[in-house]
């Protein structure tokens, strides 16, 4: 009897100490994670705070991210009109290119993905393998011939080299993403539709697309962000200031006035991140799931 009681107390003591250990571990882990979060987000907060400081305070405020005594919004209009062409034009250009890219990418990639996932035709496996190969291809290999091609077509210094490839499903990664999703949709649905006399187009349009809104949204958002961020494409294809995207405008800002006007540069940097941040705010679950299931690059 006594031994039983002893054993019982030993067990509870053991339990209590384990619970204590777990509690301590949890506190330490949270402290670590909070510290890491602050460290990681600090540069972003500093950028935001600096954009609201008067020019002469930016580098005298030390590491503080608290706003100065008075909020100073001057940097924004100064940066907005800091180049011969205003940032309003650059934002408009970026939006046009990004939105057209989204439309092209979602349309062309979903068509191709439907063929790979659902249609039977000779050579399907071969072409699918070819598509996967292009995923690994460094873009530098096609860069120069593509440039020569677009030059001969008279497309350099227009938005066409940045947009038309999206309508031709050149970003094969999204085909792959959609094939994975389409394969998860029950086949019975399109078989039933085929019994009712629906052709491939109707199945694609009336069944697959409506059931695939999550993957279509993920593809749309990532296309928007990647196009918005793209620096290399606009750098080689656009040379007129009035055609510049936001990213090119920022680069030009650092070259010309950036050395003297940090406030304006920081303000425009903040504005350039706003669209991406909004997507993050409202669609982060979709973005994170998209990455988790397919292993997207960023």
């Amino acid at each position: 009897m006594t031994t039983d009681v002893q054993r019982l107390t030993v067990v509870t003591e053991d339990d209590a100490s384990r619970r204590l250990r777990r509690r301590v571990f949890s506190v330490v882990a949270h402290l670590l994670l909070i510290g890491a979060s602050i460290l990681m987000l600090y540069p972003l907060l500093w950028l935001l705070a600096s954009s609201f400081r008067p020019e002469n305070e930016i580098f005298t405020s030390g590491i503080s991210v608290l706003p100065s005594t008075s909020w100073d919004l001057d940097s924004y209009p100064r940066g907005w009109n800091g180049l011969q062409v205003g940032f309003g034009t650059f934002f408009a250009n970026s939006f046009v290119i990004s939105i057209l890219s989204v439309i092209g990418n979602v349309a062309a990639c979903s068509l191709a993905a439907f063929a790979f996932a659902r249609l039977e035709f000779r050579g399907r496996k071969f072409w699918f393998a070819m598509m996967l190969m292009t995923l690994m291809l460094p873009y530098q290999v096609t860069l120069i011939p593509q440039y020569v091609l677009f030059l001969n077509l008279g497309w350099v210094n227009t938005f066409l080299p940045l947009i038309v490839p999206k309508f031709l499903a050149a970003d094969a990664f999204f085909i792959f993403l959609m094939v994975q999703f389409f394969r998860g949709i029950p086949k019975e649905l399109d078989e039933a539709a085929r019994m009712d006399g629906a052709g491939p187009w109707r199945i694609y349009w009336k069944i697959m697309l409506p059931l695939s809104t999550p993957v279509l949204a993920t593809a749309a958002i990532f296309t928007f962000i990647w196009t918005w961020d793209d620096f290399f494409g606009p750098l080689i294809y656009l040379s007129e200031l009035r055609d510049y995207t936001v990213m090119l405008g920022l680069r030009t800002f650092t070259d010309s006035t950036g050395q003297s006007d940090y406030g304006g540069l920081f303000a425009m940097s903040v504005l350039s991140l706003v669209p991406i941040f909004l997507f993050f705010l409202f669609f982060q679950r979709l973005l994170i799931e998209g990455i988790a299931t397919t292993g997207m690059k960023r």
Partner: protein, 315 residues
Amino acid sequence: MTAQSISASARIKGGAVGSSIWSRAWENHAPGYLFLLPWFIGFFGLTIGPIITSLYLSFTHFDLLTAPRWAGLDNYIRMFTNDRNFVASMRVTMFFVIFSVPLKLAFALGVALLLNRGMRGLPLYRALFYLPSLLGASVAIAILWRQIFAGDGLVNQFLALFGIVGPSWISNPNYSLWTLIVLSIWQFGSPMIIFLAGLRSIPQDMYEAASLEGASKWRVFWKITLPMLTPVVFFNAIIQTIEGFKSFTPAFIISGGTGSPINSTLFYTLYLYNEAFSFFRMGYASALAWVLLAIVAVFTAFSFFTSKFWVHYDD
């Protein structure tokens, strides 16, 4: 029977019995090819055609204005025997990949393991750690980085609190590449999310069995978690390495497009860009691109070959 219905019934009969092989082949295979049509145009016009052209151009001298002149192996010979910038850019890129990829993946895995222990607030932490990955490719972040590591930048302001006078990290060739490596590690969020998904897919009963046998946590990690996670490690390593080889924007912005100071941030892609679009040596740049393709291909093949020995796949 009207003429119309006769012809209709004939059509049905014909469709069932006598339709030619050709029309049946058309019905079976045409939709697939029609749906793929945009992709086919892109595949041949923007990928296959340019790949072949690029290979041809790599054996020529080509300045964009006059027709390409055949040069045989000149470009490749010059690259490997008489081009210090090629050697420098190769060394910079290799250094970047060798240090940034393992460090980034180590951070990603470490944080993922910590978060996976049923931490409260996981969605919040996950989102916060992911934010830099989402923003990191932007020119704005490269500009910010240049400021953080400048002589009077945020890092040195912080060090000054402890009386340390830091160097100008960006303009010192000993440190400039490291600022870019730090920028890459800062974006560990997306491999972390992939690790978290991988951790969640490890069957729980394996852990239960291990704890019944009284295995220590350390042993459980080495014998269960890590082996089960090797496919994800492998996947992340390949993706991040290829991304590392292709990295361009940060080095371009931070060095003002030149790879300075003293070529210490002359990434391979930056060198290639300058050869092609600053000096219009398109033939030479094509040869550089093909060497890059060869490196990526050899690396990928090598990884897949060695993966047999360390990546655990379900039987």
